[in-house]
């Protein structure tokens, strides 16, 4: 179901966690709330779940104003950052909890739990306890538990934050496919722009309690509306007031007079990508991203003096307050 946040503000004492935030999430979309810590993204997620009540503004889920509806009556599934497992219950009882508090018959609960454990690929672990599961398994158990009650909306707080890189990669891919399969409106919080771009169809960039920009990953990357989005989404070089993407910097094979002279300070090989740290003739430093082939062709090495062509740098005029 579609979610609409209208002019929501929330303070904790003096700290302004959310400052007049409005966003719209389409039915069945997979959306990322992206921002640095303290940007208000988790608070916004908790406001949608009903775990925090906003000081002002409205939360509308599926056309229904739920601003003061308690969490238990909102029909949202929430996956906590550290999974919040019920440690004294088996995996089966964890996943079946939502059905069990709704007093569903045991047989129905067993069937539904088995189905969900299949969906999250935890078959055969129903009798285990949370202490016997790995981080990735706990994560999937928490997801199955949230899905058991057939939520209208699925909310995930830093779902991959506590996992190691390998598992994180697998789970991202898996979450995206799961979403394609069950198509429940999903919002997840992350501070990792790469994760947001890889998984989400829509990204809401947040900073200091405000929404900086919302759009598809491509829109954000190609036409960021301000400095913050430009520097937070994707790699960037800052040259005074101007911004340049590292892959937009062209290293010329021969000086044709159109380039700027630069010296290579360092060449870092990252597999397919090669990162070239440069110092321009006027002392400004930046780095360029080139492919392995280009680096080989040009025989790039430290101390080499060559010519680079900078793209039209992007300059953001300060926003009118």
């Amino acid at each position: 179901m579609a979610i609409e946040i209208r002019n929501v503000s929330k303070r904790f004492g003096e700290f302004v966690a959310l400052d007049d935030v409005s966003i719209t999430v389409g039915d069945g979309a997979l959306t990322a709330l992206l921002g640095p810590s303290g940007s208000g993204k988790s608070t916004l997620l908790r406001v949608i779940a009903g775990l925090e009540v906003p000081d002002s503004g409205e939360v509308v889920i599926g056309g229904e104003n739920v601003t003061v509806t308690p969490a238990r009556a909102r029909g949202v599934g929430f996956v906590f950052q550290h999974y919040a497992p019920f440690k004294h219950m088996s995996v089966h009882d964890n996943v079946g909890f939502g059905l069990s508090v709704r007093k569903r018959p045991k047989e129905e609960i067993r069937e539904r739990v088995a189905e969900l454990l299949g969906l999250v690929r935890l078959e055969g672990l129903a009798d285990r306890y949370p202490s016997q599961l790995s981080g990735g398994q706990l994560q999937r158990m928490a997801l199955a538990r949230a899905l058991a009650v057939q939520p209208k909306v699925l909310l995930l707080d830093e779902p991959f934050g506590a996992l190691d890189a390998q598992v994180r990669g697998e789970l991202r891919e898996w979450l995206r496919r799961l979403h394609e399969e069950i198509h429940v409106t999903t919002i997840f919080v992350t501070h990792d722009q790469e994760e947001a771009m890889e998984v989400a169809g829509q990204i809401v960039v947040m900073n200091t309690g405000k929404v900086e920009q919302a759009g598809t990953p491509r829109e954000l990357y190609e036409s960021p509306s301000n400095e913050f989005v430009m520097s937070f989404v994707g790699p960037v070089n800052r040259l005074g007031d101007a911004f340049v993407r590292p892959h937009d910097i062209q290293i010329l094979s021969e000086d044709d007079g159109t380039g700027t002279e630069a010296i290579i300070e360092r060449v870092v090989h990252l597999g397919f990508e090669v990162r070239v740290e440069l110092k321009l003739h006027d002392g400004r430093e930046l780095w360029a991203q080139v492919t392995r082939e280009v680096a080989q062709e040009l025989e790039l090495r430290e101390g080499q003096i060559l010519s680079v062509r900078l793209p039209q740098p992007r300059v953001f005029t300060p926003q009118a307050a």
Partner: protein
Amino acid sequence: MSSSGGAVTLTPASSGRAPSTASARSARAGKLTARTIALGYLALLLLTPVAMIFYRTFEHGLAPVWDSITAPNAQSAFWLSIEVVAIAVPLNTVFGIGIALLLERGRFWGKGLLGLVIDLPFAISPVVVGLSLVLVYGKTGWFGDWLTEQGFQIIFSVPGIVLATAVVSLPFVARETIPVLRELGTDAEQAAETLGASGWQTFWRITLPGIRWGVVYGVVLTTARALGEFGAVSIVSGRIEGQTQTLPLYVQDRFENFDSTGAYTAAVVLALLALATLLAMNLLTRRTRRRTAV
């Protein structure tokens, strides 16, 4: 100074990957010394006196012990103690959990003060507790007249004993539960809420199982304290033989009347009761713990 000498001898053991045999031997010797001191202290203060009581009780065989146990006043004291524990411990358990939840989860003015008040029974001598109860509930106390009119007798009667016992054993459950509650955090409770659980369901199915070890330990301490309480009960009970004499009071009574077998026997019964509580809780927790593998 001796400290610099100590640092020098410690260096190889703490930095070297394979400690020399000499330092390993000295470490082992150190551990042994620490263990001996700890055990010796325990033996001196606890084990020897308790063992002595057992020994003196059964010194003259079983017949006098049996006579002491079946004496009417002993029986009455035993059952009175059980009754008091059976009322005061559940009362303090419910109250203790409630207070712990209030202090750990609640947000209200005067929370710090409440936290201090909870600890008062630890700080005040039980005799003072007994005296203050007499002052409030006694015949000449604040509520004395009103209570007499209603036909209630608190002081020199069972309700007074329960009251005194409850007061002195009040902090245990709350104090043992609060840290466990903090450790548990609120995530699981909130998760339960988002899954549709009511506050009541969340408490019974998430919070209480999560804090059960703290509560169990608190109950054990409360029971032990309630069983053994002497000072406060001594004052409010009036020590009427066969009526308001609890087991600890009975022990003292027998002792003062030169009935050493009676005193020792009652003391052994008290010790066994406390031991049984510990054992029962231990078995209970071990079984559940194995099942949940927490």
